[in-house]
Amino acid sequence: MFRLAIKNLTQNKTRLIVSVGGLGLALTLVLFFGAIFDGAMSRLTVYIDNAGADVWVSQDGVRTMHMSASFLPASVTDEVERVPGVKEAVPVLYATDMIQANGKEYISYVFGVPDNAPLGRPGGIVEGAAMPGPGEVIIDHSIAASAGLKVGDEVAVLGQQMKIAGFTSDTSSLVSSVSVVRFEDFAKARGGNQAISFVLVKVSPGESPAVVASRISDSVSGVTVQTRQQFASQERKLVKDMSADIINIMNIAGFLTGLAVVALTVYIATIARRKEYGVLKAMGVRNRLLYLVVLTQALLSVALGLAAGVAITLLLSGLIPRFNESMVLTLSFGSLLRVAVVSVFIAGLAALLPARQLAGLEPVAIIRRG
């Protein structure tokens, strides 16, 4: 009967292409948006991941960079430095700002990092200086590519005109990018305020970041202390929660479209062979075997549609970043597994209606007349 299912599915090539193509496009929609989201998420915490800090200290209650502001007294850095197990403690300033250049604006996470700081330096320099000098900024290469900038050009950051000292790569996403200026320039732009945003901590060799974080938390008042992983995880969770509704709507739309396409084509294929199924029933084939034929057809359609969807998404993942550096597509195993599981569910649902048709099919109707 498995052979019959395959033959039934492949006999009408047009119907097969419509079914697999339609489902493939619907699943591509789901996979594509998932990949864009995962890609953006992977870039979201790129500074946190690569700043070299094992522990992040922020204002009490502040657990993310996004949608929050952290203000700490500058003295906190010294307090943190005195905690056993702390090797380095570096204060950084942070703000979300618009970088303006050539009439265009780009959202950026701007960090102010002290000269010669062992932590918090910009990573992935592809051109120019490794650290900004006075009145300089290091920005992501995608902004330069978009606005037609080169090292030495000026951009507006934090309300100041600053000269581009260098470019980083892989530090931008669809939602933002990372820019780094000197700590002093950042502080001056804020009116000379002595507050800092975060203290980046490197723990001594052999020390556990979690244990040191706990010690800092016990020793320094008015702070929230998180390991790098905790801080990055909180950041991702916040953005994920903010985007969840949109992502879910896109997923549901994609899955429903796929379900409609498969259900319709399997249903039509079953109705078109109603008489043949009736003959099989007359011969003595039980309903459950016929259900299996229909379910196999639906599963095969879904498997082919999923393969088409994955292939298209992988193709787009390779092509799109060539045209837009900020648009990174990451097809994660988790996302693929989720779509595969839902696809199997779609196949089951799509087979329900035809199975109902078969259950009610009377073989007697095949032998006509009275």
């Binding site: 052979r3 062979r273 008489k275 043949e276 011969m283 003595g284 032998i367 007349r369 009275g370």
Partner: protein, 281 residues
């Protein structure tokens, strides 16, 4: 009574109840021995198909018993009937009803596979049968590429592949031209003789009477004595001469199922007479 073969005892089938009750088959008894070919004829609505459906375990009788080789079909539960149909009956339909997605050999093999025969053995069995029926050169053809006669031979091979005790054929020649119709009937006759199968055919086709061991006339759900029969030259329907509309031409009497056929005949009587003469040649 010989336990082998088909035994039908006082079979009745009623549909509906009260004022709307219709008795499709009324107290019918019948025995078909192995290797016997029985042709059941009768007008439309006479109950032929209802009887055939009951014989094939597709419809439960209201009263009476049906047994095949000591297996009492009418006592079996609905859940057992599919398996019994698969192993004991071979169905041949008017429209051939082959599975369009499968090739000729697979169409036959699938019936064997359904009984648990392995794929290789099923394919071999199918090839042997199809070769016996003169279709060795068509094994891998799609059904749509076959002529009507070839399709019906594939259907016969499919009906035979599980070595059923009884073949049930519903209007097997209705969609075939005269020569293919005769060929199909000759095959059924041979199968009955050589393989010892009981064959029950339901048909309107007068031309096939010659190959049957017995011809039964079913009317109003009951078997009646065979009466003088004729064929309507316009629609080809088998008719009781006594009840038919008639017309005389050139000293011959023609019989019609209705006044419409008679009028049509009279309007083009020469054409019908020519085709009649041609058919006789």
């Amino acid at each position: 009574m010989n336990a082998n073969g088909l035994h039908v005892d006082h079979l009745t089938k009623r549909f509906g109840s009260g004022d709307t009750e219709v008795v499709a088959v009324r107290d019918v008894s019948l025995e078909v021995a192995p290797a016997e070919v029985v042709l059941i004829m009768g007008p439309s609505g006479s109950g032929k198909s209802t009887l055939l459906l009951m014989l094939g375990g597709l419809l439960k009788p209201t009263e009476g018993t049906i047994s095949l080789n000591s297996l009492v079909l009418s006592d079996l539960s609905e859940s057992r009937l599919p398996d019994v149909r698969l192993r004991n009956f071979g169905f041949i339909f008017q429209d051939f009803n082959l599975l369009s997605a499968l090739n000729v050999q697979d169409n036959v093999a699938i019936a064997a596979e359904l009984t648990g025969v392995g794929r290789k053995a099923a394919l071999e069995k199918a090839a042997t049968l199809l070769t016996e029926l003169g279709l060795s050169h068509r094994l891998h053809f799609a059904p749509e590429k076959l002529s009507g006669g070839e399709k019906q031979r594939v259907a016969i091979a499919r009906a035979l592949v599980n070595d059923p005790a009884l073949l049930l054929a519903d209007e097997p020649t209705a969609n075939l031209d005269s020569s293919h119709g005769h060929e199909t009937m000759r095959l059924l006759r041979e199968i009955a003789n050589e393989k010892g199968r009981s064959v029950v055919i339901v048909s309107h086709d007068e031309r096939i009477k010659g190959i049957a061991d017995r011809v039964l006339w079913l009317e109003d759900g009951q078997f009646k004595d065979m009466v003088a029969m004729a064929t309507d030259p316009v629609c080809g329907m088998a008719l009781e001469r006594e009840k038919a509309v008639t017309a005389d031409r050139d000293g011959a009497t023609f019989y019609f199922c209705s006044r419409g056929c008679r009028l049509e005949f009279l309007a083009g009587s020469e054409e019908f007479a020519r085709s009649e003469a041609k058919a006789k040649v």
